[in-house]
């Protein structure tokens, strides 16, 4: 299908959805029936069916996980499955929050990821070495969050692109110089840079994907975000599972002793297959673009995980906090995403999206 026809068909589909919405509204008015049920039906009818099926599928997987955990607890009463249960329960909460945000639209998603950025940055700055005289810079780093997300909300891509990588990059060491703090200057400045880039700028790309015009993606911006999150988390889980099943040869023992070549390659191939086959349902990618994303995204996820592990090893902690029961801190959960989000966005922009 060529580009113009593809867009036309998407446009027709959204017109069709609007027509169905009109029908529903008339039907509800004539029945005068259950108002709130009608509202929910109308709300869901506005959503793209791929997204609803996708979210339903993810919920199904988690319910399956919960059932397996329940069966394990009954079959094997001597073993303690508390952590597995906590882990699954936390997944339910996270998926519910993300689904709600994606269904509600870009405003809710932007707000949610602003909060994610804040908690992640607070975790990072609390673990990294800081000094009493740096408190002002810490405060300034937090102020970068509303600023960054304001440009996402205002849909000003050009400013968003340079705000943190160029201007926060310059202002941070300048502020340090103004305070007169020169002890360990470069190490301290790069600590702040790392936190600003990973926790705010890179995560911001997730929210910015929501601003993709509906006709540019088969399931809208929400479909793009949904697919990024699914592919990233699926990759984490697949690497873990393959490692548990076949893991023999350590891949990077000095940083992550539990990671193996078998887990990495198994996860890579499984996730690449998922992206190749399910990608066309949620993204406008096809052919070469889809193949590049399928190959690059799993490797980027692994890279993000390993890099954050190196930081945690240096600091001397296993988890960045206990915020998410069974998972650790929010940084432990989004470590892969800090790498996959910008790469996915840029590959989409390069191969498919006209807006960016």
């Amino acid at each position: 299908m060529d580009d113009a026809r593809f867009k036309d068909s998407l446009h027709a589909e959204s017109l069709d959805r609007n027509a169905r919405l009109g029908n529903l509204r008339r039907a509800a008015a004539s029945r005068g029936g259950n108002e709130s049920l009608d509202q929910i039906t109308r709300f869901l009818d506005l959503q793209h069916p791929h997204l609803l099926w996708g979210l339903g599928g993810v919920f199904g997987l988690v319910v399956l996980g919960a059932v397996v955990a329940g069966v394990l607890t009954v079959v094997n009463p001597r073993k303690d499955y508390t952590e597995l249960r906590q882990r699954i329960f936390s997944w339910v909460i996270m998926i519910a929050l993300l689904s709600a945000a994606l269904l509600l639209g870009w405003q809710a998603t932007t707000a949610l990821f602003a909060v994610v950025s804040f908690i992640a940055l607070r975790e990072f700055l609390s673990l990294a070495p800081t000094r009493r005289e740096d408190r002002l810079i810490v405060l300034a780093a937090y102020l970068a969050i509303p600023l960054n997300y304001a440009f996402i909300a205002a849909d000003i891509y050009g400013v968003y692109l340079v705000l943190i990588p160029v201007y926060a990059f310059l202002i941070t060491p300048w502020l340090m110089a103004v305070i007169g703090q020169t002890r360990g200057f470069l190490a301290s400045a790069s600590m702040f840079h790392w936190g600003l880039m990973t926790c705010i700028y890179n995560i911001g790309y997730v929210a910015f994907l929501m601003r993709t015009p509906p006709y540019e993606a088969p399931a809208g911006g929400a479909g793009l975000v949904f697919f990024l999150l699914v592919a990233t988390e699926f990759n984490d889980v697949a690497q873990y599972v393959w490692g548990k099943l076949l893991g023999r040869h350590k891949i990077i023992p000095r940083v992550s002793p539990n990671k193996t070549w078998e887990g990495f390659i198994g996860g890579w191939i499984t996730t690449a297959a998922l992206i190749w086959f399910a990608g066309p349902l949620f993204t406008p990618l096809e052919g070469l673009g889809l193949a590049v994303v399928a190959v690059v995204l799993p490797a980027a996820g692994f890279a993000g995980d390993v890099t954050m592990s190196a930081i945690k090893r240096d600091i001397g902690v296993k988890d960045t906090s206990h915020l998410i029961p069974g998972h650790g801190g929010i940084l432990d959960r989004i470590d892969s995403l800090t790498f996959t989000a910008p790469i996915y966005f840029h590959l989409l922009a390069f191969f498919a999206l006209e807006k960016f």
Partner: protein, 214 residues
């Protein structure tokens, strides 16, 4: 009316602020007493310690929580004094009257007798944000002696001194780890009790994430 106001303030204002500023990363929550008389003994680096202690209890116990606070500091100003007494619910300790032989622990004993959960900071004053624990004052042992049925729960709060160090006015959000240990019981000997409390606090401190702060 004031009781209702205090409840609303603690649950709807203090708790969200504490979460925002510190993340309130609590481990060992199951050790927290839910009814009095009970004593919490925590280290002290910041006013944020008091805010945290008022925020980590479940809603049904929060009205029982009474932080001990120096009357020479908090009751000097009439407005702050009213606020501290009625809304924060402090138990005043007249540090400046210790030398006069006055019974400075009387308000704390009254609170315990009324079935409250009294939070004491045995270091006596806020330290700096570094990890060091000051010498513990033995008032907590005298309270435990007076109420042998009250559990004394050790709590190590880490990082509050970074959120709001002594002498600073603007709080900066940083994660705080709150580690709650197994409760101690009064067993009759003051010096040994204080050694036990010190060891318990230092053990909790060792379990806290490293504090890279200078």
């Amino acid at each position: 009316m004031i009781r209702w106001l205090r409840w609303a303030l603690l649950l709807l204002v203090a708790r969200p602020i504490a979460r925002f500023l510190t993340g309130a990363d609590v481990t060992g929550r199951e050790h927290l007493p839910l009814k009095g008389p009970a004593i919490i003994a925590a280290n002290h680096n910041s006013h944020v310690d008091t805010l945290l202690m008022l925020s980590i209890f479940p809603a049904k116990a929060v009205m029982r929580v009474r932080p001990a606070a120096a009357s020479d500091y908090f009751l000097k100003d009439p407005v702050i004094g009213w606020f501290s007494r009625n809304l924060v619910g402090i138990v005043p300790v007249a540090r400046d009257k210790v030398a006069t032989g006055e019974d400075v622990l009387a308000p704390a004993r009254e609170a315990l007798a009324a079935g409250d959960i009294v939070v004491v900071f045995p270091e006596g004053t806020r330290g700096d944000a570094s990890d060091e624990m000051a010498r513990l004052k033995s008032g907590v042992a005298r309270l435990a002696e007076a109420f042998p049925e009250a559990p004394v729960t050790p709590v190590w709060i880490q990082g509050a001194g970074r959120v709001l160090p002594k002498g600073e006015v603007i709080p900066v959000p940083m994660n705080c780890a709150v580690l709650v240990g197994a409760p101690l019981r009064w067993h009759g000997k003051r010096a040994e009790f204080m050694d036990g409390l010190r060891d318990a606090l230092l053990t909790l401190k060792d379990q806290a994430p490293p504090l890279r702060w200078s």
